[in-house]
Symmetry: C2
């Protein structure tokens, strides 16, 4: 039986993370994780003529890189899963079409990387695929254009705002033993849409923290584990503001995550020197931090078991302009040393 | 072994369509399938204050109706899958949050209904869930606002244009024997993004027909079947213009679908009296036609095996304004009498 609790899975067979690749922009390369990324794109348009094309090109590069690193041929990938933040997941549709793989489009805002890893590993664990590739991306400029102000406007950003990561991460999951990253996916918890009624889209951390708290609490209950059963519990892009809210919410639920919790949005930029305020965010934030850093920490034995929780704010510019709140979702993936 | 060919699945165990429900607007209720729908909403805002809220409310009603019809409690649904056409899948995020179910967001434009049935049935067949609910929707006015012109502008529609269906369809899939619709899902074929370079977003049928032709041809090869192994092969929303292109493309590939092919966009409106030009379209088109009509035809024994193929045009208003082509995707689901 692989289902546990009401919303979690624990796999009977080993699902290997066969490969992980990260492609980022210049700013990300100048952050604390700079040396770990597979490819840096100093050209902010990544060879394209629009911000959307730039983001598509990040995905193309990330998929190419994970295939190159693993030696897997495109033809040996059964399904590709993918998504991004743009309306109608435009970066993905125009990004990975050339690979001509059976494709399942996902939308979970910045949680999409977690959704891809969960759906992909469930399909492999269920015998529906030998090998699945998952890719997600975000781009600072395409996201600002999609959700906020024209860059030319040069608006002031509040200290609660996060900086959208320019980057794409791609992952290959398989049940077949062979060369892999040294990391396996052993299960996870599917998120629920959680809405505390917060309307400030410049404080995404506060909008998403309740979803992360809900998924973490349900995960620990479903698996009958305590926070210290994990070496790290790492959310996607709550940033400093969201982390504070998360720790408080979990304290109230009886879980102490101080010490064990960190966040990809906190890890990826230097708070003192990079002027990114609350931290990093975007579909690419959790994806490239996982591919470049978390996988490395687990493979080296530094961490033995990690709960990885990309968080997504399910707003659109229409919902924002209509005065709606920002619902959020968070999917949890258990990563262990293979 | 449940994987066949390069992109298809055929399930070892029986996946029942436990329930199907359809909720539509006034115009759809006046079409040829009018008497089959579960609920008609004469109020075009469906009790909401915006077109987006109207569409969210269609989803809420469709999910409520499928739970009511089957007697399944929300708590007994393991995952909900859903999506729609709006930027950041806004109708879904604000629609089904109140059900508080573990949620996986999908994006495949108007193919999303097929993607939901495929992913849902794969998760059930793979032992990852006892029961999955899938919901999709579209609304004429929210779609016009999102992709085309303000309604107040009263623009002329070319004869190749389709009319976005106002409606939502919800489905419950389970492997547990019991009361069901009399229909089972026995497998399917995952689509690839296909782009013939067509840029006319007022001719979605032509944009999507190549994707449908590709999926149908791959499906028939993977399953080693001929078109007449199906009582009907039913695409999602190609309409009359797209049907003509599809039949020609498949002729060229050596498959004669004349006679066996029809399209939900053709079935849902009366061509002579409803002024819908090439037919119906939208995430809701295939979903409500399946829930209200196709399921009934299979359950009654009229049709024994149907290949159901929702088609999706992966454009956004940004991609259109940037002069991009309209890539498309089509997922195939095999439905048989249980």
């Amino acid at each position: 039986m692989q289902m546990i609790g009401k919303a979690s899975v624990a796999y009977d067979k080993v699902i290997y993370l066969q490969g992980a690749a990260s492609v980022v922009g210049q700013k990300e390369s100048e952050g604390p994780l700079g040396k770990y990324f597979d490819e840096i794109c100093p050209d902010e348009r990544v060879g394209g003529t629009s911000w959307e094309e730039a983001e598509s090109n990040l995905q193309i590069k990330a998929v190419g890189k994970v295939l190159e690193k693993t030696g897997v041929k495109g033809d040996d990938v059964r399904y590709m899963l993918g998504g991004d933040l743009l309306g109608q997941c435009m970066a993905t549709s125009f990004g990975i079409a050339d690979y001509q793989l059976p494709f399942l489009g996902l939308y979970g805002a910045c949680s999409t990387c977690g959704e891809g890893l969960l759906v992909g590993s469930m399909l492999v664990a269920g015998g529906m695929a030998e090998r699945v590739l998952s890719v997600t991306s975000s781009h600072f400029s395409s996201a600002e254009k999609e959700f906020r102000f024209p860059l030319e406007y040069g608006n002031q950003r509040p200290l609660s705002a996060t900086w959208t990561v320019t980057g794409s991460g791609a992952f290959i999951m398989t049940s077949q033993k062979g060369q892999d990253t040294g990391v396996k996916i052993t299960g996870g918890t599917i998120g629920k849409i959680t809405d505390y009624g917060i309307k400030d889209s410049m404080n995404m951390g506060a909008c998403m923290a309740p979803a992360a708290a809900d998924t973490i609490a349900r995960h620990l209950c479903d698996f009958n584990r305590r926070p210290d059963d994990y070496d790290k519990i790492i959310t996607g892009d709550l940033g400093y503001v969201g982390q504070e809210v998360l720790l408080k919410l979990l304290d109230d639920k009886g879980f102490d995550l101080h010490g064990v919790h960190t966040d990809c949005g906190i890890l990826i930029y230097d708070r003192e020197t990079q002027d990114t305020h609350s931290g990093g965010s975007g579909c690419g934030c959790a994806a490239v931090t996982l591919a470049a850093y978390i996988v490395r920490q687990i493979a080296s034995g530094e961490w033995k078991r990690v709960l990885f929780l990309p968080t997504g704010a399910l707003l659109s510019k229409t919902s924002f302009n209509e005065g709606k709140s920002v619902p959020a979702i968070c999917h949890g993936v258990v990563l262990e040393r293979a």
